[in-house]
């Protein structure tokens, strides 16, 4: 498996989706891409041609606005054809503006933040009491951790020793309107997760697939839920968007950024 090629293809698909529809969540999609590639291609035991296979690992995208990244990865993995990108945001389509279970490979219909981790807790608890061995992975944004419900779920997971539950936080440091910690300080972030009873790992190179994979494979405590804090860059790979920490792009900025991103991608 050529992960570099997969990453290139997925990044290219994100640009295709943004261009095709003229608007999109570039920031969170480009920051979380490598996390999703790690989960779908390296870590998760999933079967794209049998997406409801009962023994599959469950991958929940709580930051459901990262549609471009999710659809790019699902299509690359083979859940559906890339030709279906045309259907994205079209009236009546299964491919929605926040990821939903109508799209093959999606486990949770999100939108309002702070609920994916709780849903994942429910999945993990169900697996535990049935004695099933599959794992549950949930991907959260850092800004999302302002939500009180995230911490309710954090308590639930450690209270019930959900060691089959892994979360990866796309720690890109920016919400829609600015710096996450300036808005409402999350620090000391990793210590907070640890204090809630989670085994934690911080990944400096959060936009490197192998770094995410290594972190997810390095957990050792078998009675705790696990948390990877992946330090990522919002709009990774498009400097003109990176420096503005953009959440969404549209118009001229979109077309110029896509041009810059594609040029840098070819040079990678």
């Amino acid at each position: 498996m050529n992960l570099d090629l997969i990453e290139k293809n997925c990044t290219s698909s994100i640009f295709d989706l943004l261009e095709l529809h003229g608007i999109g969540h570039s920031g969170g999609s480009l920051s979380v891409l490598q996390v999703l590639i790690s989960l779908y291609f390296e870590i998760g035991n999933v079967e794209p041609h049998n997406p409801k296979w009962p023994q599959r690992d469950r991958i929940v995208l709580s930051k459901a606005h990262a549609t471009e990244a999710m659809y790019a990865v699902l299509a690359e993995k083979g859940y559906f054809e890339k030709t279906r990108f045309n259907e994205y945001l079209r009236l009546g389509s299964d491919i929605q503006g926040h990821v939903e279970i109508s799209t093959p490979g999606v486990e949770y219909s999100g939108g309002a933040l702070g609920q994916g981790i709780t849903f994942a807790c429910g999945l993990a608890y169900a697996a535990k009491i049935r004695g099933e061995n599959h794992k549950i992975y949930a991907v959260l944004g850092d800004g999302e951790c302002h939500e009180g419900s995230v911490w309710e779920a954090a308590m639930f997971a450690s209270h019930y020793n959900l060691d089959n539950l892994f979360i990866v936080i796309d720690n890109n440091h920016y919400a829609d309107h600015g710096d996450v910690d300036e808005m409402m300080n999350l620090q000391p972030f990793e210590e907070r997760w640890a204090a809630f009873g989670w085994e934690t790992k911080s990944v400096e190179e959060g936009n490197k697939v192998s770094a995410i994979t290594n972190a997810l494979k390095s957990f050792q405590q078998d009675d705790k839920p696990k948390c990877v804090i992946a330090n990522t860059v919002k709009n990774y790979g498009v400097p003109m968007w990176e420096e503005k920490h953009l959440h969404q792009v549209a118009g001229d900025l979109l077309s110029q950024g896509v041009k810059q991103g594609r040029r840098l991608l070819h040079a990678r």
Partner: protein, 325 residues
């Protein structure tokens, strides 16, 4: 209807029925938010993780239940009705949107309760009716609660069961069969649609006020049994809707829309005004009168909608001496 007023707790009927169902269905689990003594005790003893205590975290209880339902469990979630407000976005996104098989029941729906304005909830139907994919039930008494909890459990999409928090008059002598719309008393002057505690109140008004009304218990609020309701309305050509609920968003608004769109006819609504209900003890008399939903209000409204002007002005003096609320 029993001759003498007998009280029963819907809440107790709910607990007994959920426990009875859980004895034969291992997929039934109970999601507790520091709530439900009997259920907690039973499910804890059953073991196998079937009691899921989430602590005082109402919003999260809805999403834990959704996750369990996604894996094929049938979670029952119990809470106070006012806490549906706390859970609302979670119920909408995580349960209703993908139609997960979560069984929600809530008590202290209505004006009764010592908790006061924060705790007495008269907008639960307004909230829950607005959510697609939910089926909503309103049992009339202890016995019908048993029927309806079983009915809700038999459905594999989200359900909401509305319960009173205090003991309420029994209108059945035993557990009835399930009927979404049930004629409780045939009559010809007008059709009274009612649910919950107001079924007993309407029957009492009918008897004491000699109303000869056609009294219909609507136990399924959503999907609204439209044809049955139109059929019963048509029998008298005049409609009164009575509910222990806000006039905004409850059964009255549902039936109003149905009647206006299909067969316009004279209609009046008896419900609670747009307020937060105050604390009240069970022993307090005239509570329904205070909120304008008493049997006396029903008699006056039926007289009004039917154009009856011959009631003796002394009737209500004598009535109040006898009815005892």
């Amino acid at each position: 209807m029993p001759d003498k007023i007998e009280l029963g707790k819907m809440r107790e009927a709910y607990a007994d029925t959920v426990i009875e169902l859980a004895k034969t269905d291992p997929n039934i689990v109970f999601v507790s938010v520091d709530c439900g003594s009997h259920e907690r005790e039973f499910f804890r003893k059953e073991g196998k993780g079937r009691l899921i205590e989430v602590g005082i975290a109402e919003a999260n209880s809805a999403v834990i239940a959704a996750g369990m339902a996604a894996e094929g469990f049938k979670p029952h979630v119990l809470n106070f009705a006012y806490l549906l407000e706390r859970m609302y976005n979670q119920i909408s996104q995580s349960i209703a949107q993908d139609s997960y098989d979560v069984k929600i029941a809530a008590y202290y729906a209505g004006i009764w309760g010592i908790g006061g304005r924060s705790h007495n909830c008269i907008i639960d139907l307004s909230m829950m009716r607005a959510l697609p994919n939910f089926t909503i039930f309103t049992p009339a008494d202890y016995w019908e609660t048993k029927t309806i909890v079983k009915k809700a459990n038999s459905i594999d999409t989200p359900t909401y069961v509305r319960l009173s928090g205090v003991p309420t008059p029994k209108v059945f002598d035993e557990e009835p069969d399930f009927q979404p719309v049930r004629v409780m008393k045939n009559g010809s002057r007008c059709t009274i649609f009612c649910h919950g505690t107001m079924v007993h109140e309407s029957l009492m008004a009918n008897k004491l006020g000699d109303l000869n009304a056609h009294i219909v218990n609507v136990s399924q609020i959503k999907p609204l049994p439209k044809q049955e309701i139109l059929r019963e309305a048509r029998k008298t050509g005049k409609v009164v809707v009575v509910e222990e609920h806000s006039k905004i968003g409850g059964l009255a608004e549902a039936i109003s829309t149905l009647i206006i769109e299909n067969e316009p006819m004279p209609m009046k609504v008896i419900g609670v005004d747009d307020i937060y209900p105050l604390s009240v003890l069970m022993e307090e008399p005239d509570v329904y009168k205070y909120y304008g939903i008493s049997s006396e209000d029903i008699i006056k409204t039926v007289d009004l909608v039917t154009g009856y002007e011959n009631r003796d002005p002394d009737f209500f003096t004598a009535y109040n001496a006898n009815s005892g609320d």
